[in-house]
C-alpha cells in the first residue's frame, strides 16, 4: 500500500444554504486508478472542482506528496501537477486544438508566442495517445465531434508534466470504440505512475480499470474500498442507499438529516 500523493481531510463545501460536501476524506495514490462514484448530485463534480481550485472549500485540509498545501486557484493546482478533465470540457470553441491545449500556459514570451513549439508538442501528445481521427491540429474545436473534444481535453491534461489527473465522466458522451480508447488511456496514465481519479456511472468501466473505489452518498464518503474486495451489487447499493451490509455509513437514514 503506497502513501497517497494527494490526500483530503474533513473537506466541507456549501453553496449558500446548500451543504454539498460533508467532512469528505479522499485519497489519490500514484500509479493507481481511484474511481469516484455516486448518484447524480452526490457532489462528485464539486469535489473535483475544489481540488482544482475552481471552488474554495469552506474547511478541511489538503496534503500533496505529504505536505500541506493551499490551493487558491486553478494556477495553484496546475503548479502542483494536478490536471482536470471537466465534465463540461472547458474548451474554447473559437480556438484551435493547439491553442486550447496550451491555453493559459502558452510557450514563448508573452510578446511573441512560440507557435512552432506548441504545435509540435500538441501533435506529439495526440500521437502518443494514438489519436487518428483529427484531420489537423489547427482545426478549431467548434468543428470537432464530442469524442474528439474529449480526446483533446484529455490530451491537454497529459501534455503537462502532471502527477494527478482527475477525469469527470470522460466516457459519458462517447461511443463504444472511443470509450475503449479512453479507458485504455486511463490505465496507461496510472501505469506511467500518475495518480488517476475516474468519475463514472458505468460499473463495468469502474471495475475494469480502477484499483480503489470511493463512494459519495449525499455529499458524504460512504465507503472507500479496494475494487477486488467488492462486488458490483455492493457498490450499487452503496451508491443508492449509502450502505451495504457491513460497509457504508453507520445509519444512513440519520445521515440525511
Amino acid at each position: 500500500m503506497t502513501e497517497p500523493i494527494l490526500e483530503l481531510h474533513g473537506l466541507n463545501k456549501s453553496f449558500g444554504p446548500v451543504h454539498v460536501l460533508h467532512d469528505v476524506d479522499f485519497a489519490v495514490r500514484a500509479g493507481e486508478v481511484t474511481a469516484l462514484v455516486g448518484d447524480n448530485g452526490a457532489g462528485k463534480s464539486t469535489l473535483v472542482k475544489c481540488i482544482a481550485g475552481i471552488y474554495t472549500s469552506d474547511s478541511g485540509d489538503v496534503r500533496f506528496q505529504g505536505e500541506e498545501v493551499h490551493i487558491r486557484g486553478p494556477k495553484d493546482a496546475a503548479a502542483l501537477g494536478i490536471e482536470v478533465v471537466y465534465q463540461d470540457l472547458a474548451l474554447a470553441d473559437n480556438l484551435d486544438i493547439v491553442q486550447n491545449m496550451f491555453l493559459g500556459r502558452e510557450r514563448g514570451s508573452g510578446w511573441l508566442l512560440d507557435e512552432a513549439s506548441m504545435e509540435r508538442a500538441a501533435r506529439e501528445t495526440l500521437a502518443s495517445l494514438s489519436v487518428r481521427t483529427v484531420k489537423s491540429v489547427r482545426t478549431p474545436v467548434a468543428s470537432l465531434s464530442g469524442g474528439q473534444r474529449q480526446t483533446v481535453a484529455i490530451a491537454k491534461s497529459v501534455l503537462w508534466d502532471s502527477k494527478v489527473v482527475l477525469l469527470d465522466e470522460p466516457t459519458a458522451a462517447l461511443g463504444v470504440a472511443q470509450t475503449r480508447q479512453v479507458l485504455d488511456l486511463v490505465r496507461r496514465l496510472a501505469e506511467q505512475g500518475l495518480g488517476v481519479v475516474l468519475i463514472s456511472h458505468n460499473m463495468a468501466d469502474v471495475f475494469e480499470v480502477s484499483d480503489r473505489i470511493s463512494v459519495l452518498y449525499l455529499g458524504r464518503v460512504a465507503a472507500e474500498v479496494q475494487t477486488k474486495e467488492v462486488t458490483h451489487g455492493q457498490v450499487v447499493e452503496l451508491i443508492t442507499a449509502g450502505r451495504s451490509g457491513e460497509l457504508g455509513l453507520a445509519r444512513p437514514d440519520s445521515a440525511v438529516l
Partner: protein, 472 residues
C-alpha cells in the same frame, strides 16, 4: 504540393496518420468553401458588398472613382475606422462599448483646448472644472492600479502630468494628451464592467451621455475650437506623403508583408508545421503587392481639380491606419494577451479554469478601445480642422460599431479581426461618400447605412446558427 513528411526523428509523429500539415491548393480551396458553408464567413460578405457598392456608384457617378474623390474618401472614413478597430477588442470578449464615440470626442476636446489655450488647461476650463478633471484622471490611475493594469495607470498618470505642468502647445504633446485621456476614460469603464460586474451595455450607455456632457462643458454650446492653424495637426488627415515617401511606404508595407508571410510560411514548411499551400501564399503576397503598387501609382498622380496647385501622394491616413492595423493584428495573433482575449470571448469559464485573469482581460479591452478611439479623434478632428460640441456624437459610435460588425466581427464574442474594422469602415465610407455624390439627402444616407448594418448583423446571427448546427 504533396504532403510534407514531418520531423523524421520522431516516430510518434509519423504514426499520427490522418493529421496533415500541408494541403494542396485545391484542398485548401475546398476546405475554405466548406468553412463558408458551415457559416464561418469572416469578412467575405463585406468584401463582396464593397465590390458591389463600388461598381454601383462608379456606374451612377462619374466623380466617384476620380482620384480626388478616392483620396478624400480615405481621409473621411479613417477616423471612424480607427475607432472601430479599437471596438473590435471589446466585441471580441463579448462586450459592447457605446461610449467610444463620445470618449473620442472628449479626448479631442481636451486636445483642442490644450492647443487653443497654449497648454493652459486651467485657464481654458476654469479652476473648478480643472480640479475635477484632474481628480477624475487620478481616479482612473487608482482604478487601473487596482486592476493591476500598469500601462493604463501610466497613461492616465501622464495625462495628469501634461495637464498640471501647463507645458506650451505642441502638436505632438497634444496628441499624446488625447491618447492618455482616452486611456483614462477606458480605465473607468473597464473597472465598472469587469470588477464591479455591471453590464457593459449600461455602463457605456451612461458614459456615452457623461462624456457628451464633458465635451459640451469643455467647448460650450455651439462653440468650436479650431486646430487647423497647427500645420502638424492639420496635416494628419489633410496632408500627403511625397512621391518618394509614397513609394517608400509601398516598399516598407508590401515588402514587409511579403517578407513576413513568406518567411513564416517557409519556416513552418521546413519544420513540418501546418501551412497553407505555397501557391496560395504566393498569390496573396503577389496580390497585395500588385494592389499596393497600382494604388501608390494612382495616388502619386496629380489629382488637384484646380490646375494652379498640385495635390499628389498617398494621404497620411493610409500609413496611420496601416500601422494601427499591423499593431492590432500582431497583438491579437502573436501575443498571449491576444490569445487570452479570444479565449475569454469564446468560453469565459474555460479561460478562468485555464488560469487566465478574466477580470483583467475584460477591463483592459475597454482601455484599448478608448485609447484607440482617442487616436481616431485626432484624425477626424484634423479632417474638419476643429472640434465642436457634436464631436464623436451618436453617428460616430454607430458608424464605428457598424464598421466592426459589417466587417465580420461577431457581436457574440470570440470571432473577429482588426482587419474586419478596416473593411467595414471602408464599406460605410463608400456608402456615405457615394450617396453624397448622388446628392441624396441625409435621410436616405441614414436609412441605407442602417439597412447595411442590419444586414451585417443578420449575416452574423445566421452564420452563428449555421456554425452551431454544423460540425458537431
Amino acid at each position: 504540393m504533396t504532403q510534407t513528411p514531418t520531423a523524421s526523428s520522431d516516430r510518434a509523429i509519423t504514426d499520427f496518420g490522418i493529421d496533415t500539415t500541408t494541403l494542396s491548393t485545391a484542398e485548401a480551396v475546398r476546405d475554405y468553401l466548406a468553412r463558408v458553408r458551415a457559416g464561418q464567413l469572416g469578412s467575405l460578405p463585406a468584401l463582396l458588398g464593397l465590390i458591389a457598392l463600388v461598381i454601383m456608384f462608379s456606374a451612377l457617378s462619374d466623380v466617384f472613382l476620380s482620384l480626388n474623390n478616392v483620396a478624400n474618401l480615405l481621409a473621411q472614413g479613417a477616423g471612424q475606422t480607427m475607432i472601430a478597430m479599437g471596438i473590435v477588442f471589446v466585441l471580441l470578449v463579448g462586450e459592447i462599448d457605446l461610449s467610444a464615440g463620445t470618449a473620442s470626442g472628449a479626448a479631442g476636446a481636451v486636445l483642442a483646448m490644450h492647443f487653443v489655450h497654449d497648454g493652459n488647461l486651467l485657464g481654458g476650463m476654469g479652476s473648478t472644472v480643472f480640479i475635477v478633471f484632474n481628480l477624475v484622471l487620478a481616479l482612473a490611475v487608482v482604478l487601473a492600479l487596482l486592476l493591476r493594469i500598469w500601462p493604463g495607470a501610466a497613461l492616465a498618470g501622464v495625462a495628469i502630468v501634461i495637464s498640471v505642468s501647463g507645458m506650451t502647445a505642441n502638436p505632438w504633446l497634444e496628441m499624446l494628451l488625447a491618447l492618455c485621456v482616452g486611456a483614462a476614460m477606458g480605465c473607468i469603464t473597464g473597472f465598472l464592467v469587469a470588477r464591479i460586474g455591471m453590464p457593459s451595455f449600461v455602463v457605456t450607455l451612461a458614459l456615452f451621455l457623461t462624456w457628451q456632457g464633458v465635451i459640451l462643458q469643455f467647448i460650450g454650446e455651439g462653440g468650436t475650437l479650431g486646430i487647423s492653424s497647427s500645420p502638424v495637426l492639420n496635416k494628419v488627415a489633410n496632408g500627403n506623403l511625397s512621391t518618394l515617401g509614397s513609394w517608400a511606404l509601398f516598399a516598407v508595407g508590401a515588402g514587409g508583408f511579403g517578407a513576413l508571410m513568406l518567411g513564416q510560411h517557409f519556416s513552418r514548411l521546413r519544420r513540418g508545421l501546418v501551412t497553407q499551400p505555397t501557391p496560395l501564399v504566393l498569390f496573396k503576397v503577389g496580390g497585395v503587392a500588385a494592389l499596393g503598387a497600382v494604388a501608390t501609382m494612382l495616388l502619386t498622380i496629380n489629382r488637384s481639380p484646380n490646375p494652379s496647385i498640385v495635390i499628389s501622394g498617398v494621404p497620411y491616413v493610409v500609413p496611420i491606419v496601416l500601422a494601427l492595423l499591423t499593431l492590432g493584428t500582431y497583438v491579437l495573433n502573436r501575443t498571449s494577451y491576444g490569445r487570452h482575449i479570444y479565449a475569454v470571448g469564446g468560453n469565459r469559464e474555460a479561460a478562468r479554469r485555464a488560469g487566465i485573469n478574466v477580470t483583467k482581460i475584460r477591463a483592459s479591452v475597454f482601455i484599448v478601445s478608448s485609447s484607440v478611439a482617442a487616436l481616431g479623434a485626432i484624425v477626424y478632428s484634423s479632417k474638419v480642422g476643429s472640434v465642436d460640441a457634436q464631436a464623436g456624437g451618436l453617428n460616430t459610435l454607430l458608424f464605428a460599431v457598424g464598421a466592426a460588425v459589417i466587417g465580420g466581427t461577431s457581436l457574440f464574442g470570440g470571432r473577429g479581426r482588426v482587419f474586419d474594422a478596416v473593411i467595414g469602415g471602408t464599406v460605410l465610407a463608400v456608402v456615405a461618400n457615394g450617396l453624397g455624390l448622388l446628392r441624396q439627402p441625409a435621410a436616405v444616407v441614414a436609412i441605407v447605412t442602417g439597412l447595411v448594418l442590419l444586414l451585417a448583423a443578420m449575416v452574423d446571427a445566421l452564420s452563428r446558427r449555421r456554425a452551431a448546427t454544423a460540425g458537431r
